[in-house]
Symmetry: C2
Subunit: 462 residues, 2 copies
C-alpha cells in the first residue's frame, strides 16, 4: 500500500490547485482524476465557452456593422475553425496543468477514486494510505424531471452543444443561469433563433435588477420567458421538438409551445458525491453537498472538501481559493479561512456583467442600512466612443453608517477585467472615502466607478 | 468690477474640475477659457484619439483575420464616418462639461485671461476680482528647432492630422511618446507606412523595458528609429518631404533619409505660461513650468496652479486630481495634498499598455532594494483564447524588505481598464501578501497579476 501525505480526489480547479499547492510545500501528493485534468472548467466549461464567445462576439459586431467607420464587411463564419481553436486552447492549458503538477512533484492517476475509510483512498484497484484527503469531485449538470425531456433527440447539455459543428436553427434554453445566458447569447450572435425559459422571475439572482434589465435588453433578439415553467417536451415533426411552457401563476390556461431543433438543458448542477465512500469515512452531507466549515474541514478529521461538492460557491476561482485554504489548514496554518464576502463573478456575454459582494437587496435582507448609487457607463467618454448607446452601468452598495463598500456590480464591455479591484476593496473593507482616493486613468470606463464613489462620499457629507 | 470667490483660468480637465468642485461647495466661480471647454484632452487629445483608435484596431483585426473562426471579411474603411463619430463624441462630452459647470453654477466666459495682480483676473476687456485663482492654462505641442521642419508642407501636429480626411501613405512621426506611439499605431493599422523617430534610446521612459519591447514587436510593421536624431527636413519632389536622420552616436556618416508625405511632430509639450501676468502676480516659474507645492499653491498667496502648467504629471487625470486638491486646500482643508506615487497611465495602442508606480529601474535608482516578478499574459487561458500569441505581460515591483507594492506594469488587451486596482493597491501601500488575498474571477487576464503576487509572496518565504 503506497503512502501519501495527501490524496486529492478530482483534478479540476479545486483538486489540481490543492495538489500543486501541497506538492510545492513538500508534501507527497497523489491526484486521482477519472476524466481529464482541468475538470469541467477547462474541458467543458469556462475555457471553451469563453474561447467561442470571443469569436461569436466579433462575428456579430462585424456583421451588424457596430463599429463606426467600418462599412459592413460581410463576415464568413468558419465555425469548425473556431471549434478547432477551442480544442487547441483547451489542450494547451491541460498540458499546462500537467506541467504544474509535474513541477510540484504530484503523482497523477487516471481512475475513479473512493474513500476507504478516513485515511485511505481506493483507486484503480489499489488502496493508497493518505494522511490527509481533499475531496474535489466537482459537479455535473442536473437534469430536471420534465416529461419528454429525457427522450427528446433535441436535448443536449452544454458540453454536447459546444462540440457540435452545425449551428442550431432554433435553440431553446432551459435555465437562465450563467451557462444558459452565455450559450444563449453566443448562438444568438451566430444567427440562431434563441428562446430562454426560466422558472424564476429573474435571470441570475446575484445580479442587480438594473444589471439584469440592461443585459436582457442587450441580448435582443433573444426571447426571454421568465417566471415560466416547462411542462413537457414534445416531439414535433421528424427531428424537432417543442417545449410546452406556461407562466408559473396562470397555470394551464396560457400554455404555449416553443419550437426548437435543439434544447439546451442548463438548469443548474448537482455535486458528484455518490459512490465516493463518504458515509464509511464519516463525511457528512446535507441537501446533496458535503458539509464543511470555513477551514474546508469535513466532519471527518483530516478530510477536506473544496469546490462544487461543497455547494457554497460554484465558481472555478472559488474552488481554487478553497483549495488554497484547505492546504494551508492541513499544513498547520490555524488562521486560514475561506471568505465568501468578496468573491467576484463574471458573465461573458456581450456586454459582459460582473460583480462582487452584496446586491442592494441582499444587503437590506441582511438587515443592513445601505446607501447605493449607480451611474450609466455612457458617462465615460471612452465607453461612449467605443460602445455608443450599448447598455452599461456601475452600482456600488455601501453601508450607510461607516460607508464600507459592500458590493460592486457592473454591466458593460470589459467589466470582467475591471472587477478585481472592486473585489480587493470589498475584501479590505474599504470605505467609499478610502476607495475614492484612487486615481483612475483617463479616459476609461472604470472612471465611472470613481464617479459613483464620489457621489457616495458626497451623500455622506464628506 | 465683478467679484468671485474663485476665478479659474483654463477649461480643460484641470480647470473645469476645479471650477465645478468649487461651485459644488458653494463658491462663486468664474471659468475663463479662450478656446473650447474640455481642453486639449477632450477636443484634440485623449477623446478623439481613443475614438479613432477603436475603429483602426477593429479594422485591422478584421482585415488581418486575427479572429479564429471568422474567415477574412474584407472590411471597407469609412474614415469620414469615423471622423464624424469622433466629432459627435467630442461634442457630446463638451456639452456634458457645459452641463456639469451649469449645475455647479459656474459662470463661463470665452476669452483670454490674464492675472491682474494676485487677486484679480482680466478677461474680455473686464477685470474680475478673485478671492482665489486657479491657473489651469494647459500646454501646447512644442516644435523642435529642426532645419526645414517649419517650412515643410508635410509637417502637422496631432490635431491637424486627426482632422484629415485622407490617410497618409507614408507617415513619419518625430517622437515616440504617447502621442507618437498612439497615432503611429493607428495609421499603421489603417494601412499607412509608418516610421517613428526618437532621439532617446527608448520609447516611453516610464515603461518597463519588457513592456516597451513587447509593444514595439506588436506594432510591426512600424519601423522604429530609436536613439536617432532628425538633422533636417528636406523637400522631396512636388509634395513629399524626407527626414534626414542619423544615429545619435555615429554622426553624419550614417545619415539616412526617411521619405514621408506627412510628418507628425510629437516631441512633447510646453506649458502655456506666457502672457498670463504671472510675474506681476508674483507667481514663480522654473524651466517653463509654474512652481507649486504638494497643495498646488504657487508662490503667490491664494493663487493655485494645476495640470500641464505645473509640469509634474502631464495626464488629464493628474490635472483633475490636482484640481480637486487645490479646491480642497482653498476651501480650508489643511490635509489635502497631491500624491504622485500611484498615478496610473495608459497607452491605447494595440495591445494596450498601462502602469502605475515605479519601474524596477526607477526604484533601484531611488536606492531601494526591490524584488520584481513578471509573467506573460498568455499564461491566462482567457488571454490566450482571445489574443493567441500576442505579446502581453504583467510585472510587479515590490520593496524587498516589507513587500510593499511599488509599481505594476502591464502590456496587453484591456489593461487600461485593469490598472485602477493596481493604482489602489500602490496608493494604499499594500504588501504583496495583502494584495494576493484578492480573488480574481476565472478566466481573466487579470489572474496573471495574482500569479505574479503569489510568486512574490513565495519568494519572501510566506
Amino acid at each position: 500500500m503506497r503512502d501519501y501525505d495527501l490524496v486529492v480526489v478530482g483534478g479540476g480547479p479545486g483538486g489540481y490547485v490543492a495538489a500543486a499547492e501541497a506538492g510545492k510545500r513538500g508534501k507527497s501528493v497523489l491526484l486521482v482524476e477519472e476524466g481529464r485534468l482541468g475538470g469541467v472548467c477547462l474541458n467543458a466549461g469556462c475555457i471553451p465557452t469563453k474561447t467561442l464567445l470571443h469569436t461569436s462576439r466579433l462575428y456579430s459586431q462585424i456583421l451588424k456593422g457596430d463599429v463606426k467607420g467600418i462599412a459592413a464587411a460581410r463576415p464568413e463564419l468558419a465555425w469548425e475553425e473556431a471549434l478547432e481553436w477551442k480544442d487547441e486552447v483547451v489542450s494547451t492549458f491541460r498540458k499546462s496543468v500537467e506541467s504544474i503538477l509535474k513541477t510540484a512533484k504530484v503523482d497523477v492517476l487516471q481512475a475513479r477514486a473512493r474513500l476507504a475509510g478516513r485515511s485511505a483512498v481506493e483507486a484503480g484497484g489499489e488502496v493508497f494510505s493518505a494522511r490527509a484527503i481533499v475531496i474535489a469531485a466537482g459537479s455535473r449538470p442536473s437534469i430536471p424531471p420534465i416529461p419528454g425531456l429525457g427522450d427528446s433527440m433535441a436535448a443536449v447539455n452544454s458540453t454536447e452543444l459546444l462540440d457540435r459543428k452545425a449551428l442550431p436553427e432554433r435553440l431553446a434554453v432551459i435555465g437562465a443561469g450563467v451557462v444558459g445566458l452565455e450559450l444563449g447569447a453566443m448562438y444568438s450572435q451566430l444567427g440562431s433563433k434563441v428562446d430562454i425559459v426560466e422558472m424564476l422571475p429573474d435571470v441570475l439572482p446575484f445580479m442587480e435588477p438594473e444589471q439584469a434589465k440592461g443585459l436582457m435588453r442587450s441580448l435582443q433578439p433573444i426571447d426571454f420567458h421568465l417566471d415560466t415553467r416547462v411542462l413537457s417536451v414534445e416531439r414535433e415533426g421528424e427531428t424537432a421538438s417543442a417545449l410546452v411552457v406556461a407562466p408559473n401563476r396562470d397555470g394551464a390556461g396560457a400554455v404555449r409551445r416553443i419550437a426548437a431543433d435543439t434544447i439546451l438543458v442548463a438548469t443548474g448542477r448537482r455535486a458528484n458525491i455518490e459512490d465516493l465512500g463518504l458515509e464509511g469515512a464519516g463525511v457528512k452531507t446535507a441537501r446533496g453537498f458535503i458539509l464543511v466549515n470555513e477551514r474546508m474541514e469535513t466532519s471527518a478529521p483530516r478530510v477536506y472538501a473544496v469546490g462544487d461538492v461543497v455547494g457554497t460557491s460554484l465558481f472555478a476561482h472559488s474552488a481554487s481559493r478553497m483549495a488554497e485554504v484547505a492546504v494551508k489548514v492541513l499544513c498547520g496554518d490555524r488562521t486560514a479561512a475561506m471568505r465568501y464576502d468578496a468573491i467576484p463573478w463574471a458573465l461573458y456575454t456581450w456586454p459582459e456583467a460582473a460583480g462582487c459582494g452584496l446586491t442592494e437587496a441582499a444587503a437590506i435582507a441582511e438587515g443592513r442600512q445601505v446607501r447605493a448609487v449607480q451611474l450609466p457607463l455612457r458617462t465615460s467618454a471612452r465607453f461612449f466612443a467605443e460602445q455608443g448607446k450599448q447598455p452599461g452601468m456601475i452600482k456600488v452598495v455601501a453601508d450607510a453608517e461607516q460607508g464600507r463598500i459592500l458590493g460592486v456590480h457592473m454591466l458593460g464591455a470589459g467589466c470582467s477585467e475591471m472587477i478585481w479591484g472592486a473585489s480587493m476593496a470589498v475584501r479590505l473593507g474599504l470605505t467609499v472615502e478610502e476607495a475614492a482616493e484612487t486615481i483612475f486613468p483617463h479616459p476609461t470606463a472604470g472612471e465611472v466607478l470613481r464617479d459613483v464613489l464620489v457621489r457616495l462620499v458626497a451623500g455622506r457629507g464628506n
